[in-house]
């Protein structure tokens, strides 16, 4: 019976998927329904999970359900806890899914919905889910060790240290770009800023409740936290409409950047139970709820995709980010297709909670498929918008100017007809004064979500509410990431400083703590501020730098997986990790080199820096800069970006050389040389 169901079910899913793709690909000249896009994605996920992940589990990794996992061997009821696989799936998903899959796809929508969709689907099946699954496997077989430790074990101490420096650099860029997304969303938006600000007292209240009144009652605290959040959105409208309160919450980009930098420094120094933990619970609550609501909303409303399948910006002249489809699409959409950062989660708490090796397939591979689905929905929400509105929100002021009339004229000139009235009406519908140049994904997604959820629930009148709900939802987990990331960064910096001067490495020593926190905040704060004042937009530089860094980390994690497979004498199947590794190296090295050296100043950091410093030397001011000092700053920042990008390129090339050396040595050996915990290391032995 089971076999019969399976025999009928999988061809049916394949046919539904093929039909959906046909609807997407053949619907020329008329707009396609978003339901086809989402259905096509779901069919791909189901088939990839059923067949490809099973192949990886059974043949490549030879997962062994009888082999005790770290959770079983070290079970302490606290950290190492065998956990039900569906519970752990939820936990793992909440840990991997952040703002990344919501931002990249929205930016990539400038090329149309098809290129982004195809890369998200192909990328997740071939690279992203494979990376998450195999890193999880490698870590479970090594007592839940972290990525850095595993690289040290399997590739050697130098690559291990290099990887740690790389992770720190990527972390700094991520924090800066995420904070920049928040700045772009909240600039001159008193309603938005008030609701985000309100999350601070709400979190403090929840923190105290869980500490002193009802310890451990996360659900209760989160439920009343969410209720207060919804109330703060309602109050936000009153604040925005009040002539005395609104100016207090109307900040410029620079003011917001400073506010975030100060917030980051304070938040990361408070006890974790007071703000970080309750914020994280709130954001997990909203994250899961909103994603489910959006999926239901798309099926219920069945909106049409207003964005064409492909646009003229495939040629690299797009206003949102510059550069051709290859390689820039593949670094713009990182999370959702493949995200190097997941290798840190898959080698963090998750491997310590796996109950049985057979669960890793669902949690590692399946967890990433769920994140990919979030990316597909973000892309859908952006493509449901009128393309004119999409470009008005995402093109920098340097291109479309600062008035609705000017923006409408420029955008209509690209072939996306829009009137100034449509732009101002959209701003009015969502309760904001302007929607122009709010790059960074969050606002665009919020308008798309507001239209979808508004149609499902509440109509036009509720659009402003849903818009601010969506902004709150994204800003909440970005701010949690800023807080947690600053702490992680501080520990990494202290660890490194400890090698130079021992007392600085002591995490209990207050001056050393303050120094570490200050350095970490100062580093991401610098990039954030640079992005905010960058007259060319900021997001289009920083996001690509982040994309290069994140994909490089994925490349490093996959190089580790490849080396481990070779050391396990499974070289027959090494293509499973080698193909995505090669693709990531090709795209990121091409993108990295182009970002540094391309002669077009829209793409190359060095040529833009040279253009501005040469002009400054001759005393000419180039638009959009307004003074010689501003020109010099643009030049300096671009030289700095080139250095960071070059660091990523050199790092990944070095890791590649180390990995090749290790693989060559392992191939010469007759027996497996991977350093796994032996299967028979029983509970007693491991505890001794």
């Amino acid at each position: 019976m089971n076999r019969l169901v399976s025999f009928l079910l999988w061809p049916a899913i394949a046919i539904i998927g093929a039909f959906s793709f046909a609807a997407l690909a053949l619907g020329r000249g008329e707009s396609v329904n978003a339901v086809w896009l989402v259905t096509a994605a779901l069919s791909v996920y189901l088939i990839a999970y059923r067949f490809y992940s099973k192949f990886i589990a059974d043949k490549v990794l030879q997962v062994d359900p009888s082999r005790p996992t770290p959770a079983v061997r070290h079970n302490d009821g606290l950290d190492y806890v065998p956990t039900n696989k569906w519970v752990l799936y939820g936990h793992h998903f909440a840990a991997i899914a952040g703002a990344g899959p919501l931002v990249g796809p929205v930016l990539a929508a400038q090329m149309g919905f098809l290129p982004g969709t195809l890369w998200i689907l192909a990328g997740v099946v071939v690279a992203g889910a494979v990376q998450d699954f195999i890193v999880l496997f490698v870590s479970v077989r090594r007592d839940g060790k972290s990525l850095g430790e595993m690289i040290k074990m399997e590739l050697g101490p130098i690559p291990g240290s290099l990887a740690l420096v790389g992770v720190l650099a990527i972390m700094i860029i991520i924090l800066a770009v995420l904070a920049l997304v928040v700045v772009k969303a909240l600039t001159a938006s008193p309603w938005g800023l008030f609701t985000i600000f309100a999350t601070i007292p709400i979190a403090l209240l929840m923190g105290c409740y869980m500490r002193f009144i009802r310890p451990g009652h996360v659900g209760e605290a989160s439920a009343f936290g969410v209720a207060l959040l919804l109330l703060s959105i309602v109050l936000g409208r009153a604040v925005a409409e009040s002539p005395s309160w609104a100016p207090l919450f109307t900040l410029s980009g620079e003011q917001l950047a400073w506010a975030l930098i100060i917030y980051g420094a304070i938040a990361a120094s408070l006890p974790v139970w007071l703000m970080l933990a309750p914020r994280d619970y709130l954001s997990t609550f909203l994250k899961i709820g909103t994603i489910v609501a959006l999926a239901i909303g798309i099926y219920y409303v069945a909106p049409k995709l207003a964005m064409p399948a492909t646009t003229r910006f495939l040629d690299g002249t797009g206003p949102v980010f510059s550069g051709k489809l290859f390689p820039f699409l593949f670094i713009t959409i990182a999370c959702g297709a493949v995200s190097g950062f997941h290798s840190l989660i898959s080698s963090g708490t998750t491997p310590k909670m796996i109950e049985n090796e057979s669960h890793m397939r669902l949690i590692g591979f399946g967890g990433m498929l769920a994140e990919s689905f979030v990316a597909v929905m973000a892309l859908t929400a952006a493509c449901v918008l009128d393309p004119g509105i999409y470009f008005a929100m995402n093109a920098p002021t340097a291109i479309i100017g600062t008035t609705a009339a000017n923006a409408a004229q420029v955008i209509s000139g690209w072939g996306f007809t829009i009137t100034p009235d449509m732009i101002t009406q959209t701003a009015k519908d969502i309760g904001e004064t302007s929607i122009l140049s709010r790059a960074g994904g969050a606002p665009t997604l919020a308008v798309g979500m507001a239209q979808i959820l508004g149609q499902a629930l509440g109509g036009k009148a509720m659009e402003a509410f849903w818009y601010h709900f969506a902004i709150l939802f994204e800003a909440l987990f970005i701010l949690t990431a800023v807080d947690a990331g600053t702490r992680v960064g501080r520990f990494m910096i202290q660890d490194m400083l400890g090698h130079v001067y021992k007392p600085l490495g002591n995490t209990e020593y207050l001056p050393a703590n303050l120094l570490g926190t200050g350095l970490c905040v100062g580093l991401w704060g610098y990039f954030l501020y640079q992005g905010v004042v960058d007259p060319l937009g900021g997001i289009n530089t920083l996001w690509q730098l982040f994309g290069v860094g994140n994909q490089m980390l994925a490349g490093i994690a996959l190089l580790l997986c490849t080396s481990v497979l070779v050391k396990m004498k499974r070289q027959r199947y090494v293509w499973v990790t080698l193909v995505p590794t090669a693709w990531l190296l090709i795209t990121t090295l091409t993108a990295g080199v182009q970002k540094i050296f391309d002669p077009d100043p829209k793409i190359g950091f060095l040529s833009l820096a040279r253009k501005f410093s040469d002009a400054a030397a001759q005393g000419t001011v180039l638009a959009p800069a307004k003074s010689i000092a501003e020109m010099q700053r643009v030049a300096f920042n671009n030289y700095l970006d080139a250095v960071v990008c070059a660091f990523f390129v050199v790092l990944v090339v070095a890791m590649c050389i180390f990995a090749v050396k290790v693989c060559m040595q392992a191939l010469k050996q007759a027996n497996p040389t991977a350093q796994e915990i032996p299967p028979l290391a029983g509970t007693q032995g491991a505890l001794a």
């Binding site: 009821g77 990344g100 310890p215 451990g216 974790v272 950062f341 963090g348 949690t480 960064g489 520990f491």
Partner: protein
């Protein structure tokens, strides 16, 4: 000697299975508790009763953490070093 270790491991596995958040057999109260605990674990909050069961089985007679100490420590361990968080 080896057989004994193996037996211990099997016993351990059984205990884990019964307390791992899977729908428990028994009355409505037990089911509700199990569901709440599963939700809390999704948020990253470990299960106190499972910790108690574990402590009773592995370290009988030894002092155990009170619920509030247990939760305070759980938050400290999860977030103390920041906790890797994704983009």
């Amino acid at each position: 000697m080896k057989a004994a270790t193996e037996d211990d491991r099997m016993a351990e596995l059984e205990v884990n299975h019964s307390a791992s958040g899977a729908p428990a057999q028994g009355g409505f109260r037990e089911r509700a508790r199990s569901l709440c605990s599963a939700c809390r674990q999704v948020f990253g909050m470990p299960d106190y009763e499972r910790y108690l069961a574990h402590a009773a089985q592995r370290h009988p007679g030894a002092p155990v953490l009170t619920p509030s100490d247990f939760f305070v420590q759980a938050i400290e361990r999860k977030y103390g070093k920041g906790g890797a968080r994704c983009c």
